[in-house]
Subunit: 233 residues, 2 copies
DNA sequence: CCCTTAAAATTGCTGCTGCCTTATTGTTTT
DNA sequence: AAAACAATAAGGCAGCAGCAATTTTAAGGG
């Protein structure tokens, strides 16, 4: 069974997440800071590591950098601020995934499983089908529901949860209209009513973000009186 | 079966809520503005009314005021801004309840049912036990989960959902400590992790709001290293 | 083709949340 | 006691969501 190292300065995260992971059948070791984790790793390397970015003594970035000189085990970052995410994504510093705080433990477990599966596939020489199958590609749009990451015309676009859900619903069937009501159903729990114009607001912000990548083509079209439609170019 | 009048300028609310209420077995009539509702009411009065505050031609406040000259049927206001709520509460203008937008239809149905029950009890001369049974009283604190309203030392205090849940959990057992973990369980879905300090933040804001009513006594006590405790005076 | 009206886009604002930083308070050690 | 350490409080900030107000765009009727 896989041994997972958990490094975070918040003891509450450590114990709580550790319990969850152990319940899921993983073997877990926990560390309060990068320094002590690093020392332990030099004695015995875990199968994968979950690191908080911000920590006393040695932060997640430093730790990863030093780890990478010795090993290539999968690493997941825990991040709280958006600029930290940018750093993880932008610098391509060797992290395999990241999870934004506050996070659901269910999600973290999913990610861990996904990475371990991929690792397994690599080790046995299989094609890593997991990532490919979950990706959604529609024209120049690539969405990864698991990682919650979106690429538009090759560039990473940071979407909020609501924006992501709406875009996903629209892109699911390019060329078909979706009414605001249908879009609400996707983005909200049943029974919760929000204003029609609120959907418009989210579409507005979506368009703005996509426009910042390419302002010559608008993928989300308005059907006057009906709703919205996603078009491939 | 009860006839309910629904008055709102947003057609989406009208149709959506009307459908729900009809599915719940109510007889529903809808109006786009206060003026037409008023005219209809003068012909035949419904058993109860749900009014949007802000409307063209005649707004909910005006409508209610005119209605009150003829009838005392239960009225629920739909409000979106906090100052509107203050108005409803502060002016005591004869509304029986209010629901904040965005609202869940389930909640609205609950409120309607509650008011109709109370009305029924009044008509038949029974004691209206509904409100009393659902109220929670702990010392100078009164909490009404259904209305989501809180009174501290006689004064209305506006709490957010999270604050309400935390205070409710604490006040449930005066004199007993609750750890941050326990409080998290109350306020958050299972599996979602938030920082310990975030609980502190909510407690901070709770205290601040309660302090603005009375700054000589603090009902929420800190147990160093343990958690928080609610004390009756 | 212009005018009217309805729908949608945009801008801007507010409330809630979560976390960070700094200051304070409480606890333990010496 | 005083110092060292840990936990908490206070203030403040940024992201997100939802809505309102205003402007712009589209549709339909003369």
């Amino acid at each position: 069974m896989s041994r997972i190292a958990l490094v975070d300065d918040d003891r509450n995260i450590l114990t709580s997440v550790a319990m969850t992971l152990e319940a899921e059948g993983f073997e877990v070791e926990t560390y309060n800071d990068g320094q002590s984790a690093f020392e332990a790793f030099s004695r015995r390397m875990p199968d994968m590591a979950v690191l908080d970015i911000k920590m006393p003594r040695m932060d997640g970035m430093d730790l990863l950098q030093r780890m990478r000189q010795k090993t290539s085990i999968p690493v997941i970052f825990l991040t709280s601020k958006d600029d930290e995410i940018d750093e993880v994504l932008g610098l391509r510093m060797g992290a395999d995934d990241y999870v934004k705080k506050p996070f659901s433990q269910r999600l973290l477990v999913e990610r861990i499983r996904a990475l371990l599966r991929r690792q397994e596939a690599i080790n046995t020489g299989e094609a890593a089908a997991t990532e490919e199958t979950r990706m959604m590609e529609r024209g120049a749009l690539r969405m990864d529901p698991l990682r919650h990451s979106v690429t538009w015309k090759g560039k990473e676009v940071a979407l909020t949860v609501t924006e992501f859900l709406l875009l996903q619903a629209l892109a699911q069937r390019p060329g078909f209209v979706k009414s605001r009501d249908q879009l609400m159903d996707v983005a909200y729990d049943d029974q919760v009513y929000v204003d029609d114009r609120t959907i418009d607001s989210h579409i507005k912000r979506l368009r703005k973000k996509m426009r910042s990548v390419d302002d010559t083509f608008s993928a989300i079209e308005t059907l006057y009186g009906i709703g919205y439609r996603y078009n491939e170019e």
